[in-house]
Symmetry: C2
Subunit: 135 residues, 2 copies
DNA sequence: GCTGGCGTTGACGCCCGGGGGAAGGTTTAC
DNA sequence: GTAAACCTTCCCCCGGGCGTCAACGCCAGC
């Protein structure tokens, strides 16, 4: 299988495949004419990469999964290194969520304070107007 | 006050101040010699900008706060436009947290599945060894 | 009158990953 | 024969928020 077919079957582009090869992530054998030659195993690897990408993994983070498959394991995450990447990613996500929630709390605090200040300002301005309306 | 002094008092750099002026965020009067001239009000504006930056606001998002102060209001968030930025930011943060938690849940699912698969694999391999140990 | 420090404008660099796009040349496929 | 697919190499880009020169002007102290 050549690069165009592989790209199409995996739903990506030839450009991306050349880039992965450049990273050493998905090296290709070469046919006599210099064309890249791929097999079904490469398709499997590529699908693993794409799936992890969809999860928000960086390309370097997919490497252990790819190497795990290439080593003959049934799944990309059958190896300790892959599980470790999962753990790191979970910790990273948790920390990111915690930071965002901290910022959220502080912004909400500012917002509440400002809203309260505005309401108090309104309370000192509106009542006279209301009384005017009553009269 | 000249640019260096203002930068130092606000804990930022002259480069940043020139950049803010370029954005029209913090315009400066000019002295006769062409030097930028700032006053205490500008320091107040700049501190507002820095505080919001620390909260993770982009420079454009600080604009309503700065204009609110420049309009004579006591706080940068005394104006409806500023409150609206707070609201947008809160919504943005909430959406970001939700997305991260969704990803986190999916990664955790993958992780659990992989860990379980590994444990089952271990269960089919280890017991015979244990029996060997018993004998 | 000279050195050094602060000021001015303008322009380019950079960081970060994940490629996009074009140029210029083979090879294959119909 | 010619169009499509492939090859390599190269530069570009996206965004924000500046950093970092370069080349020059202004001013205070000695």
């Amino acid at each position: 299988m050549r690069i165009g077919e592989l790209a199409e079957r995996a739903g990506t582009t030839t450009r991306a495949l050349r880039y992965y090869e450049q990273l050493g992530l998905l090296p290709a054998r070469r046919a006599g004419n210099g064309y890249r030659a791929y097999d079904e195993g490469d398709l499997r690897l590529l699908r693993e990469i794409r799936m992890l990408q969809d999860f928000g993994f960086g390309l370097e983070e997919t490497r252990p999964f790819v190497e795990c498959l290439r080593a003959g394991h049934p799944e990309g995450d059958s190896c300790p290194a892959s599980l470790e990447v999962y753990r790191r990613k979970l910790a990273e996500l948790d920390e990111c969520v915690a930071r965002l929630q901290d910022v959220r709390a502080r912004v909400a605090g500012q917002f509440e304070r400002a809203r309260k200040a505005r309401d108090e300002l309104a309370a000192t301005e509106l009542p006279p107007l209301c009384e005017l309306v009553k009269e």
